[in-house]
Subunit: 259 residues, 2 copies
């Protein structure tokens, strides 16, 4: 067997299994552990693998939504609390539309295994829920925006025209007195359609978003039914939000009383 072929084989094995030990690989490919070590080191340098003591794990092709991975840790606890509060309002049998974003992804984690119908334009959410027997999944197609892995644009909008859901869970990147904002023009167009086809529009946002506008105006406050936000919200911002007339749900350990 030629060296390059063997290297490829090593990468294939590790990537299909996700993780492989040195002994496994040496056995499978019938070469010494030394050789496998060198191959793993090679791929490690290339950035395709990550070595561990005794083996290696696959880290992907460098794709897989870098924007999501970076942000995934900031305000994670707050986002989880928000997701918990929002998901608590969803009943079995409901149809829910989930927008892309880290907070809605947390919500999807909590919905995993519950018997509901989920509609989403987010690839990470779809990948999470696909394969679940209990949860029905409808994926919104369209152009995939590579940074976050969401489907956007005319295809996506048109596909929603015949859809109807009980709730839409929306992510936004800015909230001011004037209304709600997001960072991408195609995205807000898609999200307006998401709002149109839902009985109830629920917006998920953490406290850092309040007071910050963003590139694209999404909608007025009157067009949303509920804003779920975390407890770290300053009183000043809270009163600002109160003035908008929006219904607020503060997520926290006493969130049950917010209903």
């Amino acid at each position: 067997m030629i060296a390059e072929e063997r290297r490829q084989r090593v990468l294939d094995l590790v990537s299909t299994k996700g993780f492989a030990t040195l002994a496994d690989l040496a056995m499978e490919i019938q070469v010494s552990e030394s050789t496998v070590r060198r191959d793993l080191e090679f791929w490690h340098q290339q950035g395709n693998l990550r070595r561990t003591h005794g083996g290696a794990i696959f880290v992907g092709d460098g794709s897989n939504f870098p924007a999501l991975e970076e942000r995934i840790d900031t305000q994670l606890e707050e986002k989880k609390a928000i997701a918990r509060a929002a998901v608590a309002r969803i009943c079995d049998g409901d149809t829910v539309l989930l927008d892309g974003g880290t907070t809605t992804l947390e919500a999807a984690r909590l919905l995993l295994g519950r018997s509901i119908q989920v509609v989403t334009n987010s690839l990470p959410i779809a990948a999470l829920l696909a394969g679940s027997r209990e949860t029905d999944l409808v994926l919104l197609g369209g152009y995939i925006y590579p940074k976050t892995g969401v489907a956007l644009g005319p295809f996506t909008v048109r596909m929603m025209q015949d859809l109807h859901v009980h709730q839409t869970l929306l992510s936004v990147s800015g909230l001011t007195e004037r209304g709600l904002f997001n960072s991408n023009l195609l995205l807000v167009e898609t999200e307006r359609e998401m709002m149109r086809c839902a009985d109830e529009v629920v917006v998920l946002a953490d406290h850092t978003k309040v007071g910050r506008p963003a590139l694209a105006f999404l909608c007025e406050w009157s067009e949303i039914d509920l804003l779920v936000i975390d407890r770290k919200l300053e009183d000043r911002k809270k009163s600002m939000l109160a003035q908008t007339g929006a219904r607020l749900l503060i997520a926290g350990d006493l969130e049950e009383f917010g209903r």
Copy 2:
């Protein structure tokens, strides 16, 4: 912090990162490595994690397309050769529609990073190609069939009505004198639309599929432009295929001459 909360945190950290070392976790959660070890051991028992020397990796919620994982190894080399032969016929700038399936997934791996437009109804393929700067991706929406993670049904069909692509790469599960077959009625309906919107229909199949019918009839031989198959095809089956009038491309180490 209460023990259960910390355990959850350990699982969360490992699952979001995919892999975490003991030192990382101990640092992040501010407990001793001993405690982290015990937590990892706990989740390992539960089956949520896999321990390695120095850390742990996430093994998933048991979701993520079991049907794909099982089959992924059978005839893998043949499937790769078929994918290579098919992808060699695709030029930069082309628009290609990829059906779901393990062979088309291999084709997608080979297309990764090339500057083409890909349309697909397959979630695994979309997850692979999303995030790539060079490859444009259009996802076909619809009901997600949980076993294999492909979008099917009326939504999917309708979304293709305004699409046009240079090539469609199709998977099938059976080939006989009568024509081509697949295992799912909704799937063949979707695939017929995939054929309609392409200039050229290319079918990928390994030699084990020949002679086997499957539940759902897809189309006659006259409706496809090319069948790509591997070298292990027996002569008897080869002549049967020749009689159908289909153009054949045998994938192998001399595949360049097959063009």
